[in-house]
């Protein structure tokens, strides 16, 4: 564990990313304390510039506090990112494990199915799914999960293909362990590092997808999210730049931090690879 942290900390960018990410999570957790009440409440005159009328980051076209929107929006954006990634991992890891471990016909079927999804542009598919199931937080999470599992399947399959012929796996087979316990106990733990790295990037992508959907007006109308904030500020950007700029910065920082953390994780989990790249990036 210590060496893991040492390797992670060697990547300075990753540390900065982790700090930003923790701050964003803290903001999400503390939102009800920092900004009590609903972020939809109209608390000031419309279009108050940042700093005026007690609005730290200004108010929007209905007089809602942009800062409160960003804090409460962090909850929705992070939640959507996390839940949809977990869902995508569940689909992707299961299918990848089946394809990689069983091989043969099962592999063929699963991979053709995966390719089918990969050929459809993911954002278009997400828009379509949300539009069909009407925009709610559940349908958005579902749509993001459905479009983001194929890369997981491919990565997991590749790992399983290489691991299943290793000696320790063969030893377990000789010992008579069941297939399920070999997959869960022997192969999966060894395939975990690329999955962890991939999932941190998937959270970032999911946040972007949710923002993009909300921006197009396909967000949950009852949930305040960053994409919604930008979308509602876009048309009035010449009157109230703060309405889109601050949520934009929030998305930018969060996605950047997730990418930095992902890279740090990759370095920490594959120290040899990192050192070959010249050690600390």
């Amino acid at each position: 564990m210590n060496s893991f942290w040492r390797n992670f900390a060697r990547n300075r960018g990753a540390v900065v990313g982790l700090v930003i990410l923790l701050l964003v999570i803290a903001l999400a957790v503390l939102a009800p304390v920092l900004f009590p009440g609903s972020p939809w409440d109209m608390v000031a005159a419309p279009f108050a510039p940042p700093g005026e009328m007690g609005m730290l980051l200004g108010s929007d076209s209905l007089g809602r506090d942009v800062a409160a929107g960003i804090a409460h929006g962090a909850r929705v954006s992070l939640l959507v990112g996390a839940v949809s990634t977990v869902a995508a991992l569940a689909i992707g890891v299961t299918l990848g494990a089946v394809a990689g471990y069983l091989g043969g016909l099962a592999d063929e079927v699963v991979m053709r199915f995966t390719e089918f999804f990969q050929t459809i542009p993911s954002f278009v598919l997400a828009i379509l799914l949300v539009a069909i199931f009407t925009p709610t937080i559940q349908s958005i999470v579902f749509a993001i999960a459905v479009v983001s599992w194929p890369p997981v399947t491919r990565v997991v399959r590749a790992e399983f293909l290489s691991l299943r012929s290793r000696e320790f796996v063969q030893a377990s087979e000789v010992l008579g362990k069941s297939r399920l316990s070999i997959v869960m106990g022997d192969i999966l733990p060894n395939a975990l590092s690329p999955i962890v790295v991939l999932s941190s990037l998937m959270v970032a992508t999911a946040i972007l997808l949710e923002s993009a959907l909300s921006f197009l007006g396909l967000g949950d109308p009852n949930m305040m999210s960053w994409g919604f904030l930008i979308g509602s500020g876009r048309s009035v950007i010449r009157i109230a730049w703060w309405m889109s700029v601050f949520p934009g910065i929030a998305i930018f920082l969060t996605v950047l931090s997730l990418n930095l953390v992902g890279e740090g994780l990759s370095d920490a989990l594959n120290p040899r690879l990192a050192r070959n790249r010249g050690g600390a990036a």
Partner: protein
Amino acid sequence: MALSRRGLMAAAAATPFLMRVEDALAQGIQPKRGGTLNTIVNPEPPVLHVGVNNQAPTLIVGGKIFQGLLRYSAKLEPMPELAKRWEVSPDGLEYTFHLQENVRFHDGKPMTAEDVVFSIMKFHMELSPRARGVFARIKEGVAVDPQTVKFTLSAPFEPFLLMFDVTVSAIVPKHLFEGQDYRQAPAVQKPVGTGPFRFAEWQRGNFIRLERFDGYWKPNQPYLDAIIYRVIPDSQSRRLALETGQVILTQSNDIEPFDVPQMRAQPNLEVQTAGWEYFGPLMWVELNHRVKPLDDVRVRRALAHAVNRDFIAQRLWFGIGKPATGPVASTTRFHEPGAKMPAYDVEAAKKLLDEAGLKPNGQGVRFAIKHMSLPYGEVFTRLAEFLRQSLRQVGVDLQLESVDVGTWAQRTANWDFDTTINYLYQYGDPTLGVERSYVSTNIKKILFSNVSGYANPKVDELFTEARDAADPKQRQASFSAVQKILVEDVPLVWLMEMAFPTIHDRKLHNVITSGAGVHASFDDVFLA
């Protein structure tokens, strides 16, 4: 100028800042021949024939190509257009129109009484459900001589004279339609009318160009050489085109409400909201009375108390539009100023909900109800969010649903909603545009009918009385009574009398001279 003195003064009184030809003359600005009017049409109309399609973009462009028998002042008094004068028999059954002389269609053929009879009795009867509803009351329509048309009604119908605007019953050439499928006739794609401008060119997705018609029946008019309607789908690009002078006139939904204050601040631009009186759009929250507890009048009154309509008009629509006071817009005939809907009063709303037995739970919620946002763009999304916060104050949890336009229309028509937003044109008279939303005979699974399911026998009776009465005084009495009942029953929560900004360069004169505003023929518009 073929305006009657009375109509002119009425229009001038209603829109005091307008510059009319006479005013312009007084200030030394002569109407001047020449110049091209660059403007915008949005969205691009499917066709330009006002009889075949009656959506706003078609009507605005088509209103330059076609003309009706009459036009209307801001107070909805009829003024001459293709009819120079008209008579109504004392029993209210016979309407005689005397037509202008020397009127020609763009193909050079003269317009006669035969064309008028064909347009009213055949063309619009077949194509327009709204016209059919009224013109079905015509027992007989005859061309007495080439300059005179007489319609005989089967029963008196006082609002009959409001039906002759170009947007309702444009006069079309009989010789280009008779014996053909009206929708498929070549004259639909190449419209031919009597208006001051004729169709010249249409590059789809780019622009529509109308040219001055040299054979126009008013001598020396129109003043403009051409009108070009540019198709600009993005609202910010439209604003930019207006600011840079690429276009010098915008109308309808071209400029978003939140951009209007900046346009007002531009010294070379004039912003007007007059010119929608003939249509009188009124916006409301549609309540489905089949959904509990919306069947309880105390709950509906409470909802009406909970919404600050001034905020909607001032903050969401930036002062374009007026807070509603009841079911009949203040610009529509027979508006009853004494009938006032429940005022904004949060405490009164809470008290009424308590009385209805709807107590708040631990989270302060009395009941939850769904709201389908009207998918007509951003400002309507903001409106839904505003309503949710307003009702939350009195303990009603309004859960928003976003839908697309098709779904909205289909679910509203099929009563598959709890609450939603809607706005309907009133067409100047409660019989023509208000009655349909409240009478129980119109509870139908059709959009713009009485989809809320409100039924009150007394209301039915009063609307019928007002429809059939020949005497305006009698009609006023019935309409006043029905408005007083409706503001007590609150079948819907009226929000705003809508208007749309017309913004133009100050060098453009006479833009709005009637209650139909930019739908008019523009034969007196000039650049100076």
